[in-house]
Symmetry: C2
Subunit: 224 residues, 2 copies
DNA sequence: TTGCAATTCAAACATTTGTATGAAACTATG
DNA sequence: CATAGTTTCATACAAATGTTTGAATTGCAA
């Protein structure tokens, strides 16, 4: 097993197929056909389909988290231990957005696979994903250093919204393109990142409006 | 077929099961067991599994869209044809958030079903969902009336982000609760709506920052 | 080369799933 | 009551899918 070429071929083919078509309708036979290996190879090398998926996911999780943390660390070191909130948010959403958007050829299979994973949440993945919480806590900590005066609740919501916007932009880029008839340029990755970061940062730095908004105002009360 | 009770039982059981467990792992046999009807009844009454799903989805789509438009119309009439941007956004995200969050008993199966549908995007639904674009255009129009000076691109992004935050909050409410260790109260539906609306409105009304942010700033450039 | 372990392969298996069938039960109408 | 149309039911079918099996092949060390 000098080169593990069969294993690798399976991993690559599986990642690409899952990224393109989702977990729902990719069968082992699709994978082995794409990898040009025998059907039984998957069970021989990975044990089961679920274990194959799990291995893909842990590998990519580690890589994504490392990319995020590298960017965060670089920003904090440049700022002497405290990074600008924009930089923190950029480190959070940048890696995934860069991997998933942009002109066709630049998109990374790995990033698209991770998005699928976060969308479909198939059982073998759901079991693992709890660790992500710990990873996100590191960003909460960085945000706390960046905005010492801000309440934790606001930080949690800010991180949540930042991820929401980034995530949904990837997920539903097609709808946004159609809706805007091409006006919203999703190939301008840096522009998208700037937008997401700007809105999330605004939500985190603007006055307490988000928390003190009139709680009882519903549509019918709208001022005339 | 006086009461259509079999049809209705199937629809109810299917909606609940799909809302709870997703389309992926709910079989016709699960549905007929829950509805206490014969297996063949589904094909008899709906033709196929896909047609059953499609019927559920169109019914609920129409209802959701109507709820949104009612709230929008009420707000615009109260404002003499032009609603506050907050009210427009509230009409957009309110109905779904109210249906999906809040204390266990108040959640609506219908709303949760719609979220599933928007997440899993199973083929029979994907074919129909294009119509949603037309529905969202009505909100773009209302937003344009509310913020006449704003560029269309900003409006599209604002609507996109509002839906993203609302949607993701529903989808990943569990993660937010865990991450914040309960600090973020998702049972306070009105509070959540206020937050989402406030952030989206801020993104839409604040200066052109979102568009004029330094386009080349990446993490490594963060000011020291 | 020989022998042994690792790997690959074709084939088969056991389930699961959506759908189809034809008989039985039911309902309403004459 | 009788009959025609509708609905329900048990059962069967075909296709798809993850997994297993045992033989064949390969690679490498003695």
């Amino acid at each position: 097993m000098a080169t593990d070429q069969t294993r690798t071929a399976i991993l690559n083919a599986a990642e690409r197929l899952y990224a393109d078509r989702g977990f729902g309708d990719v069968t082992l036979r699709d994978i082995v056909a794409a990898a040009d290996v025998n059907l039984a190879a998957v069970n021989y090398h990975f044990g089961s389909k679920d274990e194959l998926i799990a291995e893909l996911f842990v590998t990519r999780s580690i890589a994504t988290n490392r990319a995020r943390l590298n960017e965060l660390k670089a920003a904090e070191e440049a700022g002497g231990g405290r990074a600008d909130i924009d930089a923190v948010l950029r480190a959070l959403v940048g890696p995934t957005l860069r991997g998933c958007l942009g002109p066709e050829r630049e998109r990374s299979t790995a990033a698209r696979f991770m998005i699928r994973a976060s969308i479909e949440a198939v059982p073998p993945i759901r079991r693992i994903r709890n660790r992500e919480i710990d990873h996100l806590r590191k960003f909460i900590a960085a945000m706390r250093r960046s905005l010492p005066g801000r309440s934790d609740v606001d930080l949690y919501w800010g991180l949540h919204f930042a991820l929401a916007m980034a995530h949904q932009t990837i997920r539903d880029s097609e709808r946004l393109t159609k809706l805007s008839e091409g006006l919203c340029d999703l190939d301008d990755v840096q522009g998208v990142i700037d937008r997401v970061v700007a809105v999330a940062a605004m939500a985190l730095t603007e006055g307490e409006t988000a928390r003190k908004a009139p709680a009882k105002l519903v549509a019918q009360d709208a001022r005339r």
